[in-house]
């Protein structure tokens, strides 16, 4: 890959009820953001097993994004709180693996926040561009 034109590969998990609907709204409202993120819809941000995050990094993702409902808005009452706690623990653990904690991001995005969705994704892409490629791991 050309080093000057590094296009990061980002895996995004978006909850069905808020963030994914937000992404949808961003789409129908034609808010533009670069195509670096591949989104997987999950029923709840609480469904995002830390295994998924580690697997994404091991498989060559440069960043992992998790989008959930705002606190208090979770369709399953407290899935997003669990997601938040897992996320914070992972943020502490990733540097032990030599992976910058900024490569993982959790954001609360409601179904009505299409513009915000485009904004945070764009910002995240820029953060990852700044950090550079994580790349495939040597030993795999």
């Amino acid at each position: 890959m050309n080093r000057d034109k590094f296009e990061p590969l980002i895996l995004g998990f978006a909850c069905n009820w808020c963030a994914y609907a937000g992404a949808d709204l961003a789409g129908v409202s034609r808010f533009q953001y670069p195509p670096n993120m591949r989104i997987i819809r999950v029923m709840c941000s609480g469904r995002v097993d830390p295994t998924f995050v580690l697997k994404a990094f091991a498989s060559g993702a440069d960043g992992v994004f998790i989008g959930g409902c705002h606190p208090g808005d979770c369709h399953y009452i407290e899935g997003n709180y669990k997601a938040r706690r897992r996320y914070e623990l992972l943020k502490k653990m990733l540097p032990q693996y030599g992976i910058e904690s900024e490569r993982l991001r959790l954001e609360w995005i409601s179904a009505s926040e299409g513009a915000r969705f485009a904004e945070v994704v764009m910002d995240f892409i820029n953060v990852i561009k700044e950090l550079g490629a994580l790349g495939k791991r040597q030993d795999q």
């Binding site: 295994t51 580690l54 669990k82 706690r85 623990l89 032990q96 040597q138």
Partner: protein, 324 residues
């Protein structure tokens, strides 16, 4: 029936697995009745060239303990694989990397620096390091190469059975010996332990799993009846395979995860992050920050025995990546 030919080997391990074989006490005589030991470096005076001289598949069963982290260990793993009909990863280090695999959070250069320069008892101003080849008057001397990454046995050669544990408990050792003697081994790939988690088999009183403080072992004297996790002690039971007989739990110590992930789990540590984060009662920034602070060394705690076998396997090797 001709006697079974049994080989034992230790790679990157502490010797505890070999001792566990002796812990079978008088049963060791039964083992000696059904099997001839053809190779066991810790106890018997066979050399590598004796193994090299054997015909392929001459050894019926090889119990291989320890992880693989040097060129010598890799060579012997391959040699024993060629000479053995059945290869058993014996103990947590051979199965998942075990304690030696915590070295995967660092690398060879850092390990050498620490061991030969930084350690307080060293006096090494000349920075003398062991070298693979050294010229002396009598000729060239050779040492095995230490690897950057600690590997599990199955990452180096094909393995038929896995016997986890640090060390494997006597009843599991006898179980595999028994299966060998009666020719009733499970299908290859099987883990000789329980299919359930340790929590499933633990007979402590379990109520609701909700904690709001995590204690380290020295900070609390746990109630011997109640679930340790519910008392705020990091116990790896929820994501650790059972079959160990809850040895640690019975002496009021939390599980440290030596039996590795239960059936169906890929990454033991990730599941533990998930489990602990789920039961910790914290919704605001302050409480969550406290939780994160109380888990002092998440990777070291959740991957204490399983790092080499985990999804990420090791810390990123920055230099290699930019060089390659």
């Amino acid at each position: 029936m001709a006697k079974l030919k049994l080989g034992l080997y230790w790679a990157a391990s502490c010797g505890g697995c070999d001792v566990a074989v002796l812990d079978t006490n008088e049963k060791i005589l039964d083992i000696a009745q059904i099997a001839d030991l053809v190779f066991w470096p810790i106890a018997l005076d066979f050399k590598y060239h004796h193994v090299e001289a054997m015909e392929d598949k001459a050894i019926d069963v090889c119990l291989f303990n320890g992880a693989v982290r040097s060129s010598e260990q890799e060579r012997i793993a391959r040699l024993l694989r060629a000479k053995s009909k059945t290869m058993v990863a014996f103990g947590s280090c051979a199965c998942f990397g075990g304690i030696p695999a915590l070295a995967n959070f660092t690398n060879r250069a850092e390990i050498m620096e620490r061991a030969y320069v930084e350690a307080p008892s060293n006096d090494n101003l000349d920075r003398t390091f062991p070298r693979i080849q050294t010229e002396v008057a009598e000729g060239e001397l050779e040492l095995p190469e230490l690897y950057d990454t600690v590997l599990t046995l199955a990452q180096v050669v094909d393995v038929e059975y896995f016997v986890p544990g640090c060390p494997p408990p006597v009843d599991l050792i006898l179980k595999i010996v028994d299966a060998l003697a009666t020719n009733s081994l499970p299908p290859p790939g099987a883990v000789i332990a329980s299919e359930k988690t340790l929590c499933d088999e633990c007979d402590r009183k379990k109520e609701e799993k909700m904690i709001s403080k995590i204690y380290r072992s020295h900070e609390i004297i746990p109630d011997p009846e109640r679930c340790l996790l519910e008392q705020g002690i990091l116990c790896m039971g929820p994501a650790t395979r059972g079959g160990c007989g809850a040895r640690c739990i019975k002496v009021n110590m939390p599980c440290r995860g030596c039996f590795g992930p239960p059936a169906g789990v890929v990454d033991q540590g990730a599941k533990l992050v998930s489990a602990i984060a789920s039961i910790y009662q914290a919704k605001n920034d302050e409480d969550i920050a406290r939780m994160v602070e109380e888990i002092v060394d998440p990777a070291g705690t959740f991957y204490r025995f399983g790092l080499a076998d985990s999804i990420l396997k090791r810390k990123r090797l920055q230099k290699l990546e930019s060089g390659g």
